[in-house]
Symmetry: C2
Subunit: 341 residues, 2 copies
C-alpha cells in the first residue's frame, strides 16, 4: 500500500495572521517532512471566498512545494475548471508539471460550494457544460503544438498555441471524485483516476473499485490499483478518551464546511455533502483510533482492494510522525514484499 | 545605484525541448546566482501564444524562485490584467507575496501584442477599460477583509472575500511602463512605480524622471529614485568586434518580438514598439561595450538621475558574472558611500 496526504492549507495559524503566510510555510515544512517519512503524494484543496484563509491558488503553493521536494507527487483535490480561464489554467498546470519534473496529479471537479458559484457568478446548472468545455480545451492545449482556434459555448480563442507543454505524456494524470456507479463508470471510461470519499465503508469501497476496474477494462484501459485513492481522516489516539475528543473537534470542522457549501435557500445539501451530514459517518470509517485499531482498519481497506490512501491529518506533525513510525511500515513493507513475490 | 534583471524565461533550451523545462531551471539557477552576486531584483515578462515557449505563468515561476532566494525582489514586467480574471489574479499575487515574504513587485500593463489580443479575443479598444476595472477590483480585493460584491462592465462577483491578503501593506508595489509625459504623470499621480524603456537616452530619461518626481510631489506623494527602474540591454564585450557581433544577434531577436506584436493588417506598430523599430535605437543606448565603455555609460545614467537599472542579459551566466565583478561594484559601492554621508 501507499499513503499520501490530503491537505487543506490555510495562510494563517494561531497567533499568526494570514498576512504572515505562516500557515503556508508550516504546510510546506509538513510536506517536506512527509516526503522524508516515505509518503507518496500530497493533494491539496482549492477554495475561494471561504472567509477562513483557505488556499485559493493551489498551483502556486504546489510550485513552491515542488522546489522543496524531489519525489513527492503533487496533487490538487480538486481544482474547479469552471472558475478558471481554461487556457490560463492549462498554462499553469503545464508550468507546474515542468517545475516538478512531472510530479503533478491534477484533481478536477465541477464545484459544489454554493458560496463559490455565487461568488464567481457561475450558474450551477452550467457547471457540467463548463467543466466539459474546459476539459476539452485543456487536453487539446496540452497535446497540440500547432496553432488552433476554439469557439465553444463559454470560451473563444483564436489562433493560439498554448505553452509550455506539460512534462508528463500526454498530460498529468487527471483525478476526479466520484461516488455513485454511474459517475464511477464515466470516470473509468474516460481514463480518469478516481478519488473515493472519506466516509465510505471498506465494503462499499470494494464495490466501487470493482466497478471502476471492470469499466476500465471494458474500455480497453489497463487497471492499476494506484489509480484509485481513498480519502481517510486520520487520528492516532493514545486511548479511547483521546479518540473521542478528536472526533468532537472533527465534527465541528465538518459542520463549518457543510455550512459554507450549502445554498441557504435549499432544503438539502448536495449529494456529495449528504455523506458528511449523516450522523456517525466520521465515527464509522475515519481512521481514528489507537495504533492497534488503526492497523486493523487499514488491513480491512487493504482486503477490500484499496492500495492507496490519502490521509487528512488534523493533528499536525506529531500525528504525521506517529503514523509514519508506528503504522505505515507494516503496510508499505507488505507492498514491497508482495512486489518481490 | 542598484541593479536588477529583466528576464524572458523560456521552457526550452538548445538541445532540451520545452517538455524538459530546462530553460526554466536555468532561469532559476541564473537568478539564484544573481542574488548571491548582489542583484536587487529580477523582473520577468509574461507572454502567451508566442510559439517560442516563453513563460506564460510568470507568477508560478516566481513562486518557485521565491523558494530558492531570500532577498531578491521578484517582479513581473508585465502581467496584463485584461487577460486574467481579476479575482484569481489577486489571489495569485497575494499568495506569491506571502510565499516570498513580501518581495513581489507587480508590473502591470494593458497589453500590446496583437497575437495576444486576438488569442484571448479581447478587443484592443477595450484594453484600457478592462485594465482599469481589473485594477479597481484587485486593489479592493487586497485591502478589504470583509465581504463585498462587484458589478462592473466586464466582471461580476457576489458576496466575496478575496483571500489570502498580501504580505506587503497595502499591497505589492505596482509598476507600469510609461514613455510619454501624459502617461508618466498619470503613473506618478496614482502612486505607481515607473519602468522606463530600454531605448531612451540618458537625457530623455532625466526629463522623464523629473516629470515623474514633480508629479508625485504635486500629488502629495514622496519621491524615491528607486521608484523608477530603467531597462537596459547589457553585453560586456571583449572588444569592438565582439560588441558588433552581439548587436547583430540582438537585432534579430528584436525583430521577432516586433513581428509577433504587430497587427498584420495595420500599417504601423504601436507607440511602444516604435522605439524598437527605429534604426540604431539599440546601438545608441543599450549597454553594449567593453567594461570601460560600460562604466562611462552607467555613469551617464547616474548623472541623469537614474538610481535603478534592470539589465537584460542575453549572454548567460558568464555575462552576469562579468558585470557583477567588473562593473557593478563601482556603482553599488558608490551608493553605499553616499548613503553613509
Amino acid at each position: 500500500m501507499r499513503f499520501g496526504l490530503f491537505c487543506s492549507p490555510k495562510a494563517d495559524r494561531p497567533g499568526f495572521g494570514p498576512e504572515t503566510g505562516q500557515g503556508f510555510f508550516e504546510y510546506l515544512d509538513f510536506n517536506v517532512e512527509a516526503e522524508a517519512l516515505g509518503f507518496h503524494s500530497s493533494f491539496s484543496v482549492e477554495h475561494h471566498f471561504s472567509g477562513w484563509n483557505q488556499v485559493s491558488s493551489t498551483l502556486m503553493l504546489l510550485a513552491a512545494l515542488a522546489m522543496r521536494t524531489k519525489t513527492l507527487r503533487l496533487g490538487t483535490a480538486v481544482i474547479v475548471p469552471p472558475w478558471h480561464n481554461p487556457v490560463l489554467l492549462a498554462e499553469e498546470v503545464a508550468t507546474l508539471d515542468l517545475l516538478s519534473k512531472g510530479r503533478l496529479d491534477l484533481g478536477i471537479g465541477k464545484g459544489y460550494r454554493h458560496s463559490e458559484f455565487k461568488g464567481f457568478q457561475v450558474a450551477p446548472e452550467e457547471a457540467e457544460a463548463r467543466f466539459e468545455e474546459a476539459l476539452e480545451m485543456m487536453t487539446r492545449a496540452w497535446t497540440t503544438r500547432k496553432r488552433f482556434s476554439h469557439k465553444g459555448r463559454f470560451w473563444h480563442f483564436e489562433d493560439i498555441v498554448v505553452e509550455p507543454p506539460p512534462a508528463q505524456t500526454p498530460y498529468p494524470p487527471l483525478w476526479v471524485a466520484a461516488g455513485n456507479p454511474h459517475s464511477i463508470k464515466r470516470a473509468a471510461a474516460r481514463g480518469f483516476n478516481l478519488i473515493l470519499d472519506q466516509y465510505a465503508s471498506p465494503a462499499t469501497l470494494g464495490e466501487r473499485i470493482a466497478i471502476y476496474s471492470a469499466e476500465r477494462e471494458a474500455n480497453g484501459l489497463t487497471f492499476d490499483p494506484m489509480q484509485v485513492a481513498v480519502a481517510r481522516q486520520l487520528y492516532v489516539a493514545k486511548d479511547a478518551a483521546d479518540k473521542e475528543a478528536a472526533l468532537v473537534r472533527q465534527a465541528e470542522y465538518t459542520k463549518r464546511t457543510v455550512d459554507v457549501s450549502r445554498d441557504p435557500a435549499a432544503k438539502t445539501g448536495s449529494h456529495v455533502l449528504a455523506y458528511a451530514d449523516r450522523k456517525g459517518a466520521t465515527e464509522e470509517n475515519a481512521l481514528y483510533g489507537t495504533p492497534v485499531e488503526l492497523a486493523r482498519m487499514i488491513e480491512a481497506l487493504h482486503d477490500a482492494g484499496v492500495a492507496y490512501v490519502l490521509l487528512t491529518i488534523a493533528g499536525g506533525v506529531d500525528q504525521l510522525r506517529r503514523f509514519a513510525r508506528d503504522i505505515m511500515p507494516t503496510f508499505t513493507l507488505d507492498a514491497t514484499v508482495r512486489a518481490a513475490e
